[in-house]
């Protein structure tokens, strides 16, 4: 298929949306409500383009590419539309001292669009008649004033996680994101995976623990999550030698495909916890634990295990591994049990 994009004839594939084609050609078509992981909704109206023969502007995120389409993404009409629409968004958004959409430590796509595409008339705040609720959950913070109602959090929760803990609620300017009967997230089907935070384009959904932290001052360290054997990749955001938040790498780049669970995303406190063990400890004659080298500690463990085997036989030994180990580590534990000690008594806490 051939599509004419801003005067250039380009290739399109079966199943492409116009947005797919635009992106492949390196065109910057702004979006707020689009995410490849969920079905297009076409409601933010940022990605509207002009298609020859159509009176109205159409959402490129939802419009299938068709052979012979003639599309304009930077016409005067499209530019005027973007500018006025962005003005309207500003009138329903928390703004900083410069009159720009507030950043909440995570970047704000609306702010980027305003800076890139400009705005139209300066409009008064609409003071939308929304319901507010205080949510006591420990992790997810929601600020309706920074929400653009892209509905990505709701769609992600439903279409990707199949949890459906949140919903669009109300109607008209009062529409907001809510839970059933406005209960706390802890009191719903929510699994606190934090995917709502990950897909939020403006930072209306943020990590409570990271409120006030600025992403530009954070160093990102890629690591493997050690809560289970799946091997999810984590980006730890580090500031002043402390982890302030954990995010997933971009969807489509790692095994977790942009997703994390409650442990991977939120259970980072242990990293800096005072009770955390950071070196081997061996119990001495005095009954107390004493720091030791790895060699010394392994020596003690091996001696003890071999002693049991010699005195009582290998089947008196049992090896229990942890779901916090990787698949490879779990494999090695059973190898150790079977090959080195000669017993099948091995188990892992995630086995059922």
């Amino acid at each position: 298929m051939k599509v004419t994009l801003n005067g250039q004839v380009v290739d399109a594939r079966e199943g492409d949306t116009l947005l797919d084609v635009c992106r492949r050609e390196g065109l910057d078509v702004p979006t707020l409500c689009q995410d490849d992981r969920v079905d297009p909704m076409g409601s933010c109206r940022m990605c509207l383009v002009e298609v020859e023969g159509q009176r109205r502007l159409l959402p490129s995120c939802a419009l299938p590419a068709e052979d012979g389409q003639v599309v304009l993404t930077e016409s005067e009409k499209v530019k005027r539309h973007r500018a006025v629409l962005l003005s309207m968004y500003l009138s329903d958004h928390e703004l900083d001292q410069d009159g720009l959409p507030t950043e909440r430590g995570t970047g704000n796509k609306l702010r980027e669009h305003v800076l890139t595409h400009g705005t139209g008339p300066k409009l008064p705040p609409i003071e939308a008649p929304r319901q507010y609720r205080v949510d006591a959950n420990p992790y997810v913070h929601f600020d309706p004033e920074a929400c653009v109602l892209c509905n990505l959090c709701v769609r992600y929760c439903d279409e990707v996680e199949a949890v459906a803990a949140i919903t669009l609620a109300g109607r008209g300017a009062g529409t907001t994101i809510a839970t059933a009967d406005n209960r706390d997230l802890m009191d719903t089907s929510c699994e606190l995976c934090g995917g709502c935070i990950a897909v939020c384009p403006t930072g209306a959904m943020t990590e409570k623990a990271a409120l006030g932290s600025d992403w530009r001052e954070e160093e990102v360290v890629r690591t493997t999550c050690n809560f289970c054997g799946v091997g999810c990749q984590l980006d730890l955001h580090v500031k002043d030698d402390r982890v302030v938040r954990a995010t997933s790498p971009e969807p489509g780049t790692t095994v977790n495909d942009g997703n994390l669970c409650v442990k991977g995303r939120f259970a980072t406190e242990f990293i800096h916890h005072e009770d955390r063990l950071t070196q081997p400890l061996v119990r001495g004659e005095d009954g107390q634990l004493h720091p030791a080298s790895w060699e010394a500690a392994l020596e003690v463990a091996a001696r003890g295990l071999l002693g049991v085997k010699e005195r009582h036989g290998a089947d008196r030994l049992g090896f229990i591994s942890s779901s916090r180990c990787t698949g490879e580590e779990n494999y090695l534990v059973q190898k150790l049990a079977r090959a080195a000690f000669g017993t099948n008594n091995c188990h892992q806490c995630a086995a059922t």
Partner: protein, 502 residues
């Protein structure tokens, strides 16, 4: 993601059984339907009749406002009756009105009129309803291709507001390869000023059912749905009664009545489909159109009540005769007229009569007419210089307005046009579904701009009205956002003298 076996289509019905959005209702409905609790809550909060259950409702439509709905509301307040002020209740000929918690008409000022019985009229609301179903038999005799020819010859344009040629929709659905087709009747009449479908269902329910049966037979549908306003218990009873009588003639066709729950936007065809499916009534992106992927993603023929009520006459007396019953455009038309006229009601007249002729049928003007709204809130206001303009689809569009559902409201010189525009802007703000930003934010901005202006009389507050209208028209998903600024815009354009009032 739908859970296997979930009965989403029952969500709204079960919510109603639970008494609306009362504490714990979402959980119980979720249990009974398998639809997630948050989802149920989101649906319930969308619909006026569910989110504030068990109260009386006072109409805030333009005609009721003119006739004193504020005084009616005050009276209820004095009597200590719990009530809510709501958008139009489609009783403009009886204005001002309120309904009780069971949706029954409570306070009614008077009874509206219809054209006197006349057998020559295709719909003849004043005549006797005909339960012989001879038109259905005749249609089957004609066969699908001749039936379509008659429909084509009739020139019938959809009477719901858009004026789309009916025969194109019909043949599009019939041609779809999917073996399952549905027919849906849009009986969600809610455009302020409009109450014609109500009278069709009350007076000639068989006319509608017969038109529906012909449409279903032609489209190859075994199931049909009538989506009826929740505030219409009278038409519901009339339809139920007539459906029971019609049963022997409806072999092979299941007709389901689905009640609405208070959302004007559900008159938009894709929002209506969402509502039948048990979701928030938010319009879908088009394409695909309902004729391709409609109810449950199946090809769906959706027509307005009046459109279908025209069909039996077209079949029995021929398309050409129906065509010739019109003046500037084909067919006869049910015009609703209310506001400052002697006998508000529904009048069947040739399509393309002018305002003066319509008002003459309604007994004349009350006072000195100054403005009229030709097709509901969405059509804005026109000054009396348009009194000779044919009330049809094309002439009104040229005038920057629209025929829409032909809900004509006449305003005399006792009405401040900007105040009237404000009522209409409140209507759109209340009824915007909130899905897309141009409409959600724009409706509120326009209403607040007008509020500020009326408070201060400083025109600076109106400086962005046109630009916002441009964006709402260009960028909204559905027609509501496209027309939602017209009341204010047309008042500013045609009645500049009201802007200068101190």
């Amino acid at each position: 993601m739908e859970k296997k076996g979930a009965r989403r289509d029952r969500v709204l019905e079960v919510l109603e059984e639970q008494g609306g959005l009362v504490p714990g209702a979402s959980a119980r409905v979720s249990e009974q339907t398998g639809v997630p609790e948050a989802d149920v809550y989101g649906v319930a909060t969308f619909y006026t009749l569910l989110r504030t259950p068990g109260v009386a409702r006072v109409c805030q439509g333009l005609s009721c406002k003119i006739e004193g709905s504020d005084a009616l509301a005050q009276r209820l307040r004095d009597e200590g009756v719990p009530f809510e002020e709501v958008s139009c209740l489609a009783q403009c000929d009886r204005a001002p009105v309120s309904i009780d918690p069971h949706m029954e008409l409570d306070h009614v000022a008077r009874r509206g009129q219809v054209s006197p019985a006349d057998r020559a009229l295709p719909m003849n609301l004043g005549g006797e309803d005909d339960a012989s179903y001879s038109a259905l038999a005749r249609a089957k005799e004609l066969g699908p291709s001749r039936l379509l020819e008659e429909l084509k010859a009739s020139g019938l344009q959809g009477r719901g507001g858009a004026g789309f040629p009916a025969h194109i929709k019909w043949s599009a659905v019939r041609a779809e390869a999917d073996p399952t087709h549905y027919v849906v009747v849009n009986a969600d009449e809610g455009e302020p000023g409009t109450f014609k479908d109500r009278e069709v269902m009350l007076r000639r329910p068989h006319l509608l059912i017969e038109g529906l049966a012909i449409a279903a037979w032609y489209a190859g549908a075994e199931k049909a749905y009538v989506y009826l306003r929740g505030e219409f218990p009278g038409p519901k009873r009339a339809l139920e009664h007539a459906l029971a009588e019609a049963r022997p003639h409806l072999e092979g066709l299941e007709v389901h009545l689905v009640m609405g729950h208070g959302a004007y936007i559900c008159g938009e065809e894709t929002a209506l489909i969402e509502a039948i499916e048990g979701r928030r009534g938010m319009p879908r992106l088009k394409p695909p159109y309902p004729t391709q992927k409609g109810l449950w993603q199946k090809p769906t023929l959706m027509n307005n009540v009046e459109t279908l009520a025209c069909v039996p006459d077209i079949v029995l007396r021929g398309g050409q005769r129906f065509h010739d019953a019109g003046r500037t455009e084909p067919g006869s038309k049910l015009y609703c007229v209310s506001g400052h006229v002697e006998n508000p009601g529904v009048y069947e007249l040739p399509l393309g009569v002018c305002l003066d002729e319509l008002v003459a049928a309604a007994g004349g003007y009350i006072g000195s007419p100054r403005a009229f709204s030709p097709g509901g809130a969405s059509s804005g206001f026109l000054p009396m210089s348009f009194r000779d303009t044919p009330l049809d689809f094309s002439a009104l569009q040229e005038a920057g307005s629209m025929l829409g559902s032909a809900g004509v409201v006449v305003l005399n010189d006792s009405v401040d046009l900007l105040e009237a525009a404000r009522w209409q802007q409140i209507f759109f703000e209340d009824e915007s579904c909130g899905q897309c930003a141009p409409c959600r934010i724009g409706c509120r901005l326009q209403r607040r701009a007008l509020d500020r202006f009326l408070e201060t009389r400083d025109p600076v507050h109106l400086e962005h009205v046109e630009e916002l209208h441009w964006e709402m028209d260009a960028g909204s998903i559905c027609g509501l956002g496209m027309v939602a600024s017209l009341p204010l815009l047309s008042a500013m354009q045609h009645f500049p003298e009201d802007l200068d009032k101190k």
